[in-house]
Symmetry: C2
Subunit: 230 residues, 2 copies
Amino acid sequence: MGESRGAELLWGSRGKTARPQRLALTVDRIADAAIEVADAEGMAAVSMQHVAAQLEVTKMALYRHVASKAELVAVMIESAVGEPPDLTTVPGGWRPRLVRWADLMRAAWDRHPWLPAATTGERLTGPREVGWTESAVAALADTGLDGSERMDAVFLLSGHIRNTQSAATAGTQPWTAEKHLRDILRDHSHRFPALLEAEGSTNGSARDNGWSFGLERILDGLAVLIDSRR
Amino acid sequence: MGESRGAELLWGSRGKTARPQRLALTVDRIADAAIEVADAEGMAAVSMQHVAAQLEVTKMALYRHVASKAELVAVMIESAVGEPPDLTTVPGGWRPRLVRWADLMRAAWDRHPWLPAATTGERLTGPREVGWTESAVAALADTGLDGSERMDAVFLLSGHIRNTQSAATAGTQPWTAEKHLRDILRDHSHRFPALLEAEGSTNGSARDNGWSFGLERILDGLAVLIDSRR
DNA sequence: ACACCTTGTGTCCGCCGGACACACAAGTTA
DNA sequence: TAACTTGTGTGTCCGGCGGACACAAGGTGT
């Protein structure tokens, strides 16, 4: 990258050839470019080379602003999840608040389908991400649940978001591989009678990867516990 | 790899030097070696080179038996999850059956902590994996739930297993990063009052990443729905 | 005896993350 | 004004990755 500057030195205006007035590289610009790549081509396409090309610089230029790819991904995540919401204005107690929280979080993750892929494995965690957790835990303040129960409840809920979202972008699980599963069932239906029957007896509900079903079940389950504490 | 055979040709027994009586390479031996590597060093350490070295062959030899790394991983998964269980002998209806199913699945995933990492993203699915789903869906046969509800319920449950297991192996989520979270709270406690308070008011329960908590909530939530259908 | 087929080897390619030395403009100080 | 420092982008190199492809050398069937 960076074509030879020989001809330019010979023929160009010599005085001010190098480094034209190009936008300065910043962490934010890098993160935005990386997010753009990830939104369009998926997390697998986010390499230092690709992001740098997007900004018309060499990949090593990026390392002046981020220490490693892991750090770049961390910055991408912080930017993509956005500011955590304020749920204190939502009326109706813990359940409507959690529903609002889940909808907002799902919306953010919907805008950036690579978030599940980016947030697996050991990694750095930023303040906004912690802020989202804070927000949900706060919504459970007056439920009579103790601290670890509140944490576990939020973990359960956000895990559900993660699962439905990653299932949405990749036919990752046996039960969500729509077409794939149907093919298997056609060829091996005798081995999976219960799946075959379940496939046939759907009530024609909207296919949302079990998002609303799981959400309702989780909230119902929390309600059972919370009511029992009163 | 494979040192030059010059000296051997000059000094060796010439007739039967090459290809000593070494165990024949098979898909199963390759998968076993790969699983061994993954169990010991994690999924990131599973490369064709590393697995081949484990078997004392070149990496290209593996491609005589598997078409790609994705196929190797698929075979690893099929081998690692094991045969799906027969739950029909478990008494007490759907709930004990699902508890048994979840415990068995969690045990298998516990033996192979790389399973979460290996089963994310687009991938191939084998009969055993589908068999596990079949097994759980079958356990919900007499609940009055329709087909897609049964599928969604199993998705919800197995998603919880995946989440708790991947949280166990990597401090991946803000709420499971134990030490990390504690550090953040020490430095920024004013920004996360609810987390700080939750951290303090735990009832000293066993730390299992919310496994049993989430399992009970999910099953309670399913029970609410199932009871309402009767 | 010979041809074929199977199976493992060696070499090459492009891409990855990243270390490191260098180029060069701008600001600071003498 | 001249010399130095600092900050930012470039070029080159490295080891490791998945994988294509040609080749070697057994075993086997005719």
